[in-house]
């Protein structure tokens, strides 16, 4: 049952993260759900959940902005690769049976790290501003996961600020021929 659920998750990620603007929303929603569930499991629902949901909202705004800027096929493939790799990392961690104590925390850490690396890698091979911002948003998701794991308020606030900055930068990007810069 669990494997089936994760299979559906991976298929959803692979199919949606290549779309125009769907990827950041999907990743942000996954991240916020993960943070909230983990906090709820520890019965420490508080500021971290609010920050995670706020980051998901900001990334959703980023995705809405991306809808208005045309993106090339190459950039979509980069985005798809980043999302798929992050989910494959999750699957590998679930299948690999480790010590049960702290398994969830370690899983969360590994996923955050994988999301950060894949996002930054996607941003490094990207050509246009849209793919660059999407890759960096994926990396922000990963850093938020890691920060929520150790309950680091400073880094969470930084991530929120950076997401706002990305929104501003993408809003200043010209609408007519973005993606060719």
């Amino acid at each position: 049952m669990l494997v089936l659920l994760f299979g559906v998750l991976v298929i959803l990620s692979l199919s949606t993260s290549g779309g125009r603007g769907g990827g950041p929303v999907w990743h942000g929603a996954c991240m916020a759900a993960c943070v909230c569930l983990s906090r709820w499991g520890h019965e420490q629902v508080g500021l971290a959940c609010v920050m995670a949901v706020g980051l998901a909202g900001l990334l959703g705004l980023l995705g809405v902005q991306m809808l208005h800027i045309p993106a090339g096929e190459r950039e979509r493939s980069g985005l798809r690769l980043a999302g798929g790799l992050a989910c494959i990392a999750v699957l590998a961690q679930v299948i690999m049976q480790g010590p049960q104590v702290g398994m969830t925390a370690r899983l969360m850490g590994m996923t955050g790290l994988a999301a950060t690396l894949c996002g930054v890698w996607g941003a490094c091979i990207a050509r246009g501003p849209v793919a660059l911002c999407a890759g960096l948003a994926c990396g922000l998701d990963g850093v938020m996961l890691l920060a929520a794991r150790v309950d680091d308020r400073l880094v969470m606030a930084e991530v929120i600020v950076v997401a706002i900055g990305l929104n501003i930068l993408l809003a200043a990007c010209p609408r007519s021929h973005g993606g060719k810069a």
Partner: protein
């Protein structure tokens, strides 16, 4: 002590922003502000027990002084914000060194990144260089933050090594070291690396796994500098590689002296005037001095090798006077000479005093 120093630095930065943006910044005012920062840094790091750390703490202020006094008249036509940027960056770097915490580096480097992006933004959004700066800076900071989290989690030796690679590589990428686009070097290029390397070298006391990683990344930087720019060599790239190598030395007999020497020379390399030709690559010249100092750090054989290092400074003087661009080149050569002599004197004093200060 630290809150007072930090608030003084913050006050200095506010003063600089107002003064330079309001008056436009004559040379006298810029020089006064730079010297003021140098005095502040010197006073703030005077409580360190050894000379090397005091020199390291003054690195950003020294780089600012060199940039202000070596400025060519052609650069005076640049937009007004570009002239303020090195002041801002050096103030941030001094703050980062003063706090000396790896987890605050993200905040300080992020402030510098915002300043650079604010200059690169135009009527049509970011220009091409601006997107490149965003890609390298923010990507590097994200990777470094991820590596730092894993390093703090302490999952095991293997994971710590991977995290150390991520941390050092991400920080270097955020400083724009191994992938600077093109031969054009922006003003204030060395402020971030001057701030990052001392903090990382101090963090290596807590996590010793950082030391081999720093050595490895130093070799990577050196080989990148040699392989990618054979025709148009920029000495700062080689010096960065040497400084990263020196930061990876174990904290032995020399203290932080090799790192301090490399950072001081990095502070003196200016983008416009520092283009020495191939002689910078060979051991008798300045990188040779760093190599010799590193060797000294390894072996503990001080005086003869220190004399050798002093002699190695001579070709730079000769090349400077031969190039003959008037007062500026003379001043730069004299500055290099003075700094070399300072390094050597402190090395000798350190040797005679047995490392007592």
């Amino acid at each position: 002590m630290l809150p007072l120093y930090a608030s003084l630095l913050g006050g200095w930065m506010v003063l600089v922003l107002t003064a330079l943006l309001v008056t436009g910044g004559t040379l006298a005012l810029r020089g006064l502000l730079a010297v003021l920062l140098l005095i502040l840094c010197g006073a703030g790091s005077a409580h360190f027990p050894d000379m090397a750390r005091i020199m390291t703490g003054c690195g950003p202020a020294l780089a600012l002084c060199v940039w202000v006094f070596m400025q060519r008249p052609a650069q005076a036509t640049a937009p007004r914000g570009a002239g303020v940027l090195p002041f801002f960056l050096s103030g941030i770097a001094a703050l980062a060194i003063a706090f000396g915490r790896c987890d605050l580096l993200g905040v300080f480097l992020g402030c510098g990144l915002v300043a650079r992006l604010g200059l690169a933004i135009g009527p049509r959004g970011l220009d091409r260089d601006g997107w490149q700066v965003l890609r390298m800076g923010l990507g590097g900071l994200l990777v470094a933050q991820g590596g730092l989290f894993v390093l703090q989690a302490g999952w095991g030796h293997m994971q710590d090594q991977a995290a150390a690679i991520l941390l050092v590589g991400g920080l270097l990428l955020a400083c724009g070291v191994p992938g600077r686009p093109g031969p054009v070097v922006a003003p204030g290029w060395n402020m971030e690396i001057l701030a990052v390397l001392p903090v990382v070298a101090r963090a290596a006391d807590v996590w010793p796994v950082l030391l081999p990683v720093l050595t490895f990344m130093g070799c990577v930087c050196l080989s990148w500098a040699v392989l990618s720019r054979l025709g148009r060599s920029f000495p700062g790239d080689y010096w960065t590689g040497w400084a990263v190598l020196a930061a990876g030395l174990p904290d032995g007999v020399m203290g932080g002296l090799p790192l301090a020497a490399c950072l001081l020379v990095m502070a003196c390399v200016t983008p416009s005037g520092g283009r020495l030709s191939g002689s910078m690559l060979w051991p008798p010249s300045l990188p040779g001095m760093a190599a010799v100092l590193v060797l000294v750090g390894e072996m503990g054989e001080m005086p003869p090798v220190a004399l050798l290092a002093g002699a190695s400074l001579w070709p730079v003087m000769a090349e400077r006077t031969g190039a003959g661009h008037g007062v500026a080149s003379w001043a730069q050569a004299a500055l290099l000479m003075a700094i070399g002599c300072m390094v050597l004197a402190s090395a000798a004093y350190y040797q005679m005093g047995g490392g007592s200060w």
